[in-house]
Symmetry: C2
Subunit: 180 residues, 2 copies
Amino acid sequence: MKTYRLSIGNVERDLPYIDVSTNSGIPFVELLGDVELTNAVADELMKLIPQGTDLLFTVATSGVPLGHALSERLGIPYRVARKRRRTYMRDPLIQEVASMTLGVSETLWLDRRHAEFIAGKRVAIVTDVVVSGATMLSLARLVERAGGTVNGYYAGFVQGQPSIDIKAVQQLPVTPQSTL
Amino acid sequence: MKTYRLSIGNVERDLPYIDVSTNSGIPFVELLGDVELTNAVADELMKLIPQGTDLLFTVATSGVPLGHALSERLGIPYRVARKRRRTYMRDPLIQEVASMTLGVSETLWLDRRHAEFIAGKRVAIVTDVVVSGATMLSLARLVERAGGTVNGYYAGFVQGQPSIDIKAVQQLPVTPQSTL
């Protein structure tokens, strides 16, 4: 099986390819369960987040380790939008994701307590991997609806050509299936 | 609204109560988005995990920050069971959770790559909050099915009387609704 050699700081990983369509594949990068890689990405990504940012906002589950590691490094809090309603949520904000790549519609949930925390803050939208940018745009919409201001989009990795301007640590290739 | 004062190391939080049944409430503790509290819990919980543990195993999403922080402190890896099938999973292990408290059945998913990583390892089952212990038992079953050995159960917080022996940083009260 062909793999993609990823290097971030001193950390190297050989990533397997996964299918994104019938004729292309992308290297599959997973921060969940990988402290070393998460911290290496956070060390680089923190340099891209502007001073004056009050809060990091990411999405469950894959964005959580990076949110935690960035929050620790920058000394600012992070909050997490959920993909399922949790029983403890009271009066949550609900936001659809207009996803092209997933082929299924997703919904983001933000508990009212967290929405109130976002109000008035300058918020950096953060995720581990961006493909279309649709999830990031939905996170941004949640920030605006909660009364916060979006202070840019930041990702560990970008694959393909997202529709928005994203500052990322690395661009990963989309590779024709025939060459894998 | 009545709250519960939580103290872990130097960190204090006033937790809201949430309903767990028509006649009792529990303090709602959330590590997600709270680096300070996550790290304080990890600092205490790491002392309870025995030497010779090869791997930490937790569950998405709420267990992720604690898994990350413990992995960092102990210098051993962590892995995460998912609550939804992800498109990239190949031949996953699937495990039902026999949950009493949630009132809905849940399913845990573990990608084959991670199951293979668990094989032959001594694995500490870790979660943030335990109520019935049903999720922990399902995590343990996944470990055994993957060919690993369960090396105990560890949690930030225990609420109520779980059916298994769990080492936890703190016991949280279950409070009669009438007193809230």
